[in-house]
């Protein structure tokens, strides 16, 4: 399709002219009306021009939001210090690797026994291509990325209530569903039943498109044959030599059976913009981003500082912290401003002197339950036996899904799966179990999808996010009503105090929300400082 408007100039050229004349905000709106806007508002690192004249900013929390803010403010000439509860950088950006020790709330301690190089990402694991902000920081910090397989046609979709509990390949369910629906629609089209909705002229194109999209034969039927087998797979695939003749697959699933199975639900699971190919993961674990930030900001971050109080006065901000191990040894530091990225679940318990509306906003947002379970197996049987290379299988079992590693394909030795990824009630139930039992249950359930599980299981770790000591939950669950009531109050600058983080964004539960929120917060803060 041509990008040229009738005037002969391209849309992009036109936009550049509008942008040059009227500034970038106008250009953005013009782009929006012309359908060229990307999903993230990230527009390159912030341009913090002007001299902050030695102003100091205390940043609370060394997650993605805190570290983006620290890096940019430092680069703009601010005096920056970051206080972090943990003894590592990254916050929810985190990988658990062999040898790591993790103690959850309540005291249960897990020692990860994965082999060298193997890991699980208990929090974030994928980077949409249109999350330009987090990808740009990864690039600037030298973190290498590789494709994350969201959709694997050879992975399974599974229902305990259908097909005798036997997992089905995604490609078969998808092909059969589209085939049947296309055949149905072709029939009504040919019978002239769409007369009023589709013009005669469009009818031929509609039929042609249905034949292609549905893998129908020349008579618009979804039947065993070359077309359907090319999509869903052959009973005996074509080969070479004497025994080469293919046999088409004959066991097409009937429409009624697919509809009843509910497995069609997983067909669109990977179609939203966040999941459309190509999306990415850092090589070696999501935690690589936080670790790289930590190295970059090594002289700014102070670890093992549990912030318990933030008070501001006319002259500055006083922050009190204690030793996380003892809750003792309180110390106070001061700065001109404070940017707080502590999750609201924790921040709502910290002693603040801020305006009541902002405090109400901080208190208003509940945190979601989520759990991830990493399982190490003695061999990569999903690849060796079942030819599943990366991607995700979906199931109606409590584990929700099984995620296969998107890296190190065909390697000998052990491999680590995401053996369960749950939200809502199932996540709460699993969080309520001791870690060993979460792992045990994940192995039991998973065995219904991969019979190799009991034989090949080695060891595992399980992170229930409501037990994570420094977030008390997975992410802030805003509703439209809560946002209408509180969101703007949360994001205001209150004299010398403001917040940033995933919770101060419209991209909840994504690192891009933390990045864009941090950039917006420091840009506004900088304006205030420069004009003070």
């Amino acid at each position: 399709m041509s990008d040229k408007a009738s005037t002969g100039i391209s849309r992009r050229e036109l936009l550049m002219m509008i942008g040059a004349m009227a500034g970038s905000a106008t250009s953005y709106n013009a782009m929006a009306s012309m359908g060229l806007v990307e999903e993230s508002r990230f527009n390159g690192p912030p341009k913090l021009d002007g001299d902050p004249k030695g102003a100091s900013v205390l940043i609370l929390g060394a997650g993605i939001a805190g570290m983006v803010a620290a890096m940019e403010l430092r680069n703009a000439g601010y005096k920056v210090k970051v206080l972090e509860y943990n003894s590592r950088a990254g916050g929810r950006n985190w990988s658990i690797r062999g040898g790591d020790v993790y103690t959850e709330l309540g005291g249960a301690t897990q020692h990860c026994e994965f082999d060298k190089g193997l890991y699980i990402n208990p929090g974030p694991w994928r980077l949409p291509y249109n999350h330009h902000g987090i990808l740009d920081y990864a690039r600037r910090l030298g973190v290498r990325v590789e494709p994350f397989q969201q959709l694997n046609f050879n992975a399974y979709v599974h229902s305990t209530q259908a097909f005798g509990g036997k997992p089905q390949r995604y490609r078969e369910i998808q092909t059969d569903y589209l085939g049947h629906v296309s055949e149905l629609l072709s029939k009504v089209t040919q019978q002239g039943k769409l007369n009023e909705m589709v013009s005669k002229e469009d009818e031929a194109s509609l039929l042609d498109s249905l034949r292609r999209i549905g893998a129908l034969d020349r008579r618009y039927r979804y039947v065993p044959g070359r077309e359907s087998s090319n999509r869903r797979g052959f009973q005996k695939p074509p080969g070479g030599g004497l025994d080469a003749r293919p046999i088409y697959s004959k066991d097409l699933t009937g429409l009624s059976e697919i509809l009843k199975s509910g497995l069609w639900r997983s067909i669109g699971a990977g179609w939203s913009t966040e999941f459309q190919s190509t999306i990415f993961e850092p090589v070696g674990g999501m935690g690589k981003i936080g670790e790289a930030f930590g190295r970059e900001l090594a002289d700014l971050i102070e670890y093992e500082r549990k912030v318990v109080k933030v008070h501001q006065n006319r002259k500055g901000v006083e922050v009190t912290y204690v030793d996380p191990k003892t809750d003792g040894n309180p110390r106070t530091v001061t700065a001109d401003y404070c940017l707080c990225t502590i999750p609201l679940s924790v921040l709502s318990q910290i002693d603040l002197n801020i305006n009541p509306k902002m405090q109400a906003a901080i208190n208003a947002v509940p945190y979601a339950a989520a759990i991830k379970i990493g399982l190490q197996f003695k061999r990569r049987f999903w690849e060796q036996d079942e030819h599943i290379y990366g991607g995700i299988s979906y199931t109606d079992l409590p584990i929700g899904s099984i995620g296969y590693p998107n890296t190190d394909y065909f390697q000998p030795g052990k491999g680590v799966l995401l053996g369960g990824y749950m939200f809502g009630p199932n996540a709460m139930k699993f969080t309520a179990m001791p870690p060993e039992e979460r792992v045990k249950k994940a192995v039991e359930y998973g065995a219904q999808i991969h019979a190799q599980y009991p034989q090949e299981f080695d060891n595992g770790v399980a992170v229930g996010w409501h037990r994570v000591p420094w977030t008390l939950g997975c992410f802030g669950t805003w509703t439209d009503e809560l946002r209408a009531q509180h969101y703007d109050d949360l994001c205001q600058i209150d004299h010398r105090f403001l917040v940033a983080g995933e919770h101060a964004s419209y991209i909840p539960g994504w690192q891009e929300g933390a990045v864009t929120s941090a950039i917006d917060a420091i840009t506004r803060l900088h304006h205030k400082v420069i004009n003070a």
């Binding site: 709330l105 005291g107 609201l344 009630p425 709460m428 309520a432």
Partner: protein, 131 residues
């Protein structure tokens, strides 16, 4: 207090409340189930809560549980980071959980929260949900 005396006290308490306990028995089982499969995820199996960067309050020996409406409203509405369970739990489950924590973990509040009392405070379903 010596051991014999202690056992005597326990026996007396058991005897005096056995009628109530029997009537409430199915409720107690239900309450225990809700507590051990959901509540203890945060409030912990011993109901003593936990402390990290933030904290989960203890329900054990908690005088705030004296008024049954307090834990009921916490569960129905949520509080700060704690989500509302109004949609996830049925009214009888909420009542059972409240009755369970108010009679366990060092709490001894004999008055019972009824399912009807929970129903009365549950939020109306939104138009969207009725579809």
């Amino acid at each position: 207090m010596n051991k014999m005396k202690m056992q005597g006290v326990v026996a007396a308490v058991l005897l005096s409340t056995s009628a109530v306990a029997m009537a409430a028995e199915p409720d107690a089982a239900e309450g225990k189930k809700v507590y051990t499969t959901i509540c203890q995820g945060c409030h912990m199996p011993d109901a003593k809560g936990a402390v990290g960067a933030g904290r989960y309050p203890a329900l054990a020996n908690n005088p705030k549980l004296a008024a049954k409406q307090y834990p009921m409203m916490m569960i129905v509405n949520g509080s700060r980071a704690m989500p509302s369970f109004a949609r996830m739990l049925a009214p009888d489950e909420i009542a059972a959980a409240v009755n369970y924590v108010r009679t366990h973990f060092g709490n001894h509040y004999p008055d019972v929260l009824t399912t009807a009392e929970v129903k009365a405070v549950l939020p109306q379903k939104s138009d969207y949900e009725r579809h």
